[in-house]
Amino acid sequence: MMKGSLSQRIYLFTLSCCLLLVLLLGSVLWSYQALELSFVRDDYAKKLDNHTNSLKQLVMSDNIYASHYSVSNWQVLQQKLTRLLNSAPRLTPKLQTIQNSIHSQNETLKWVFIQISQNKLKNASEAIKKHLKARLMMQLEAIRSDSLLLSAIAHDDIYNTIKNEALFITSVIGVSILALLIGAFSLTNVVRKSLDEVKYAFKKNHSGHFEKIKLSHQSQEFDSIVKAFNAMNEKLSETTVSLAVMKEVVAERTHILEQLSNTDPLTKIANRRALFERASMEFSRAIRSKNKLTLLLLDCDFFKKVNDEFGHLFGDELLIHICNICGQEIREIDFLARYGGEEFIIVLPNCDIKGGIETANRIQHSLAVHCLGVQGKEVCVTLSIGVCMLSEQHKNLEQLINDTDKAMYQAKQNGRNRIEVLTPPNLH
């Protein structure tokens, strides 16, 4: 990718345009010279033709063998022709060949005329006289033809020079226009894209996303802007917290607090507050949908005694153990919570008395099997469980909990480690 300043590019572009123009100017000058030379050659050829024609007329107008014939006219014209031949303009090799031909013809012409004029023909026959006159005409004709050829070539040269120059000018202009278009397009594209990228970064900045600008086209001018912007952006991103991040932090903290407020710190199960919240919900739902709802109230037997014997830390461990056992034996939809010191409540939605007793049995059985070890002893605890199902008599949650509590007391009174159900007549 090209890296440089935009102004450099513009200078380079202007320079190339100037170069093309100089090239154009040079070619025009060269063509002018070539044309001028061709015109000079054509002029020279025409003069040759004229001189030769004059000589021809001279031969035809008079009898060159007549005694009164004056050779001076011929000699003047002949000398002029020779002088003209010696003043030929600069010629190409091809034209030089023709020039050589004319020279040679002219020499022969001179020779023939000398034969005619030097009175050497006094013994000669009429035939040779006629023949020499014909030779004279032939030589003149040859010179004239060569002059015409010279002129024709000069004309061709003029035509070709003009044609080539026109072609050259057209192609240079075509290339210039193409370069101009590409240059202009590329420049505006760089500026437009870079501006868009800067604008986009500003927008992002506005909405709190501190992104660095990455230019797709490098240019010194925009690079400096981008450098300044990116430096500013970095500082801003260090000191500013976005709203979204803040919301996220708050939500996270709130969630933790909520969890803390609903959880029993020791057993990590729901506390009394959470119990009432959940139980009220399940109560209302059961009333509304006429579903069954059963509560279990579990109380650890002789907990105080265990505490005293093995210490509070073991008591705490025991409570956690009970919670684990309960957690394993209940369904997904059931809800276990710590009700008080060593009392727990399990909410069993969509569950009748029978189901409640089954759950209670499972818990008691599991607890009997899994005892806790302490100081090399196996400590097994039991639970007194009260079971009560929601009935029409229950007007609120408190009444239901109360009845469950009553059932638990019955279990205590009837000898502990047992399950008692509060039958309808005994309901409050």
Partner: protein
Amino acid sequence: MNKKILSFSVLLFAIFFGAVELYFYAQSLWQPQKYVVTIAVSKTPLSTPFYVAKAIGSFDDTCVSVEFDEVIGGQRAFAKVMRGEVDFGTSSDSVIAFQSLAHKAFVTHAVFVQSDNDVKFFSRPKANVTSAADLKGKRVGVTKGTASEYFLSTLLALEGLTTDDVKLQYFKPEELIDGFIYNEIDAFIPWEPYAFQSIKLLGDQVKIHNTKNVNTLSFNLISQTADNLLVNKAKCILEGLSTAIDYIASHPNESKKIVIKELQLSPDLIDWVWPDYIFKLGLNQSLILSIKSQAIWAVSTKMTSHTEVPNAEHYIDSRAMLKVSPGAVNIPL
């Protein structure tokens, strides 16, 4: 953006080269049919344009593929053309003039070289010949019906003599020297390269007379009376010759080397004749006048048995030349 420009340029180049390729392909399809033509070329440096054309391949781009049949003298080339053994031949204007008297069915397509000093006049020093006038009663060797015979007759005529005043003996061009060596003749009129060879061979046993400008000899491309096909072939030959003649004008040294190699001549010979030669294509009124005047001369000096001088224009066919180089054609219609 730059990638776009790059791909655009690549595409442009691809299109351009594709077009060029297509052009050459189309051109190869349109390449005119190649005709094989045989040309009876006179084995003299005058035929330089033919040898150069072949050497630099200037016939390659034309419609003809040229084969040379090398002969000695334009007269034999002419005979071969008339017998139909070759398609074209090279002959001097003198041969054309003599043959026009016999009303042969041939045409001249172009002049490709001229020289004002090709035919030369040699005599035995002992014979004391200082000018043509001294030839009276002497034995003179010439080649019948060629520039050699014409040259002698004009030389004699200028001194008020005719060929009847000398003992004329006819030789083939390459046998003139032998005639001189065997003392069959006192003087002879050879052309190049035999003139140069005579000087080399005979040294001061031969005297050379300055006859520059006495006769301007031209060499011409001739064929039998041409139909359109033959004119087309002539056109192609002339195109090749035109290229070769331009090459000779711009590269004289290279051209000399080609002729030296092709004709196996000594460089001295080429340097000897070269200044007198002017290679250029043309078809002018001067050729008609030359043929006509030589024919009239031949009749009036009884060099030929024919008495009627034909119309020289009938032996000129300008169609091919008009297609190749109209500027070099100068014949009034």
